[in-house]
Subunit: 198 residues, 2 copies
């Protein structure tokens, strides 16, 4: 059985990475989107196992000790992490797995799983990113400016990624995501056993 | 204007690389398939500019001196080469270009154009390659055995390629070829200017 591809997707707030994953998974059933674990409290409407696995700090720390995360980090007192078991199980079954995580987590995953494919998504321009964040109308200008400066910082890390998807038209971006998954399976590195057997 | 992708396709005789290119180009008009130049005599039915550009030895040598080939080689007294000008023109116009050439030529191209994407195509197994060559019914067993031993030799070079396409179902193989072209455009290395501008 051929292993699935582990695809890590990052991008600044406003890059539309959530919409991109949704667009892709609606058309492709053979992909598993990992759900993160967190110690922060659920917000209204958030459901266990759908938005996050909500854990206590003790539960989270126990899982860290058991090497139960592919990556984890602490932000503002709260822990966030990618549960290892479900991801490895799906990959072993030959399913592709998408992790939608931040840059710091993505680079941890790449260190632990060098075969992971890192994709960074961006809007077509800085101005459009700014407009998208303002257009949401849910955040103060102060928060927006903070997000923009975080985006600039993250962008430096984009140079460590394998692929860039410019998220302009969502159907095109989703097609590119699919192409990256298909092309990854064709990579020489993933076919060495086949060549040797041949 | 974004440059096109230079895709080099190789594979042993019987790997179906010609059929693969045909299948892909029938569905995609925005790709240019380069026509090689040769000093060998045209076979029956072969047309100038369609199968090959048929040149005299003097014409070919002059073109070599003018740096007019992306790659060239001599086999059994005859020269074969990829004319540089048309390829570079199409790439500059943003068109993808496919070169269907042998391993030796492919590695020359990679040396001259490191951004070229090298794809090696193979049938699902050695037995199927053998059956395909016998099934053609056009060659003696001696020639077939020679082709098979050449294939084994070429296979060693496949490790220097970027991608492997297992040519089992032609539609799947053509889809993979397309995915490799799309994914290549998304490669970080091909988006550094965009990231910097952003």
């Amino acid at each position: 059985m051929r292993k699935g591809t582990l695809l890590v997707l990052s991008g600044p707030s406003g890059s539309g990475k959530g919409t991109l994953v949704k667009e892709y998974t609606e058309k492709h059933e053979d992909v598993f989107v990992s759900v993160s674990a967190t110690t922060r409290n659920p917000r209204e409407g958030e459901r266990y196992g759908v938005n996050y696995f909500f854990l206590t700090v003790d539960e989270f720390k126990k899982k860290i000790e058991e090497n139960g995360f592919l990556e984890y980090a602490q932000f503002c007192e709260n822990y966030y992490g990618t549960p290892r078991e479900s991801v490895e199980k799906k990959l072993a079954e030959g399913m592709d797995v998408i992790l939608e995580i931040d840059v710091q987590g993505a680079l941890q995953v790449k260190e632990n799983c060098p075969e992971a494919v890192l994709v960074f998504t961006l809007p077509p321009s800085y101005e459009i990113l700014r407009e998208r964040l303002i257009g949401r109308g849910t955040e103060s200008m102060e928060v927006i400016e903070k997000r923009l400066s975080a985006a600039t910082e993250e962008l430096r890390q984009a140079m460590k990624y394998d692929y860039i998807i410019v998220n302009d038209k969502i159907e095109v971006a989703a097609e590119e995501l699919g192409a990256i998954l298909v092309a990854s399976k064709c990579k020489k590195e993933n076919n060495i056993d086949f060549i040797k057997e041949f």
